[in-house]
């Protein structure tokens, strides 16, 4: 099975006496309240999704990631995973102390062993991460709104925060056991933030032809207005897999994480995460992790050239469409027919149909999937 990134699967989970001890002294510990995005990052660090990270980045690694897209060890790492607080808050937290990290309702999530505090340049961070300082970019806006001080140090998980989707939540250790149990040596990871249309199915099955299994891994987290709700995405994929996939070849589990919309850098980040889950390959399409027109359409594919040591193999797909003559989903390499015969897969077009209560045609979406989506009174985030 493919090695975790960096060679070791991180698992920093408090159990038994160690957990009891933390909970016993929780009331007297300095504490920090985390939003849902940071809770996800903490869980992902501690469960090994972000291996080899054992905590939030220290100053040296943070600067190296921004300038070199690698950790100081030279291991590829492209997205700064950081914990920012305001100056006043930072002043009350002492280096060397254990800080209790709690979620919005004060439930303990983890312990941060605070190793260092440092300031950073927000503009430079945004520019290096997203390739822009445009405040209209959602990732840039988030960075500019962050606190001025970054806290660094290893973290240990006390408890995951329950979600309605825990039934689909598997750690990298669990997916690796699952893939081993299924006898999969090659596994293709597929990242998605949407319900499946036939184009997605085509990508997955084209890749699956050359692998033992497909790992469908929807990203669950805070969404933009107009995005499909998480429960709709999961229900629609369950329906697709039930009717159109072989159970021994397809697995779905969620990735709880907020999108950064960092285009190329985030494509590498997503590849690393799926490598940690045990995938040997990952599907990368057009404008992966993009938003608006900030990134060239295939920049998120070209970036893989800079990481020959990534360890997980990207499968690049360019354009695909439905051809009325071929009567299937095709691409420009396998279809000789003119554009007049093409039906494009447009997420916006499909969304608009669903909003109006129109069933998308079977060339675009499986009728069973459309039926499930339309069974939800409000399938989109307001």
């Amino acid at each position: 099975m493919i090695q975790p990134h960096g060679g070791k699967l991180v698992e920093r989970v408090l159990r038994g006496p160690a957990k009891t001890a933390v909970l016993a002294k929780a009331a007297s510990m300095p504490r920090l309240r985390l939003d849902s995005e940071l809770v996800s990052d903490v869980e992902n660090i501690c469960l090994g999704v972000y291996s080899p990270l054992e905590g939030f980045l220290g100053q040296d690694d943070f600067r190296h990631v921004l300038s070199q897209r690698r950790l100081c060890s030279d291991l590829p790492w492209t997205i700064p995973i950081v914990l920012a607080v305001g100056r006043e808050e930072a002043a009350r937290l002492k280096e060397g102390a254990d800080i209790l990290l709690v979620e919005e309702r004060d439930r303990p999530v983890a312990v941060l062993h605070l190793a260092e505090k440092f300031t950073f340049d927000k503009g430079e961070t945004a520019e290096k991460t997203f390739g822009t300082r445009d405040a209209a970019h959602p990732g840039v806006a988030k960075v500019m709104a962050m606190g001025e001080v970054l806290l660094a140090g290893p973290v240990d998980l006390v408890d995951c925060v329950p979600t309605p989707y825990d039934r689909y939540k598997l750690s990298p250790k669990e997916t690796r056991v699952l893939f081993k149990e299924k006898g999969w040596r090659t596994v293709v990871g597929f990242q998605t933030r949407n319900t499946p249309h036939n184009g997605h199915e085509y990508l997955q099955k084209a890749a699956l032809t050359f692998a033992d299994g497909i790992f469908i891994n929807p990203v669950i987290g805070r969404k933009k207005k107009g995005d499909f709700k998480d429960e709709v995405i999961l229900a629609s994929y369950e329906e697709l897999i039930k009717h159109y996939y072989l159970r021994q070849r397809a697995v779905m589990a969620i990735l709880q994480m907020e999108m950064r919309y960092a285009g190329p850098r985030e494509a590498i980040h997503h590849a690393i995460i799926r490598k940690n889950f045990g995938c040997t390959h990952i599907i990368i399409g057009r404008d992966h992790a993009g938003v608006g027109k900030y990134y060239a359409p295939f920049a998120a594919q070209d970036v893989f050239e800079d990481f020959p040591d990534l360890g997980i193999v990207p499968l690049f797909f360019r354009a695909f469409y439905y051809c009325k003559k071929c009567q299937s989903v095709v691409n420009e390499k396998i279809c000789p027919h003119p554009p007049a015969d093409q039906i494009q897969y447009s997420g916006t077009k499909i969304r608009d149909m669903l909003i109006k209560g129109e069933v998308p045609p079977p060339e675009l979406m499986r009728p069973e999937v459309a039926k499930v989506i339309m069974s939800f009174k409000e399938p989109f985030n307001e």
Partner: protein
Amino acid sequence: MDKEFTTVSIPTSLYKKIEEAIKGTEVGSVSSYIVKVLRESLAKDQPSQDVFSQEDEEKVKERLKALGYID
């Protein structure tokens, strides 16, 4: 923080060979080429291994069965 780059010596003849080989390609410099090749070489043949113990594996299988991922 350590400085980001350091100097390594290679035979001039090899340098010139690489310089010639990358002409007209997208590789920006001899240094970029060497960095890329070395990283590829170091990453090759990483041994694969299980990252969980037998005991862990059995516990995980129980959860996977309960969730319906395996029979």
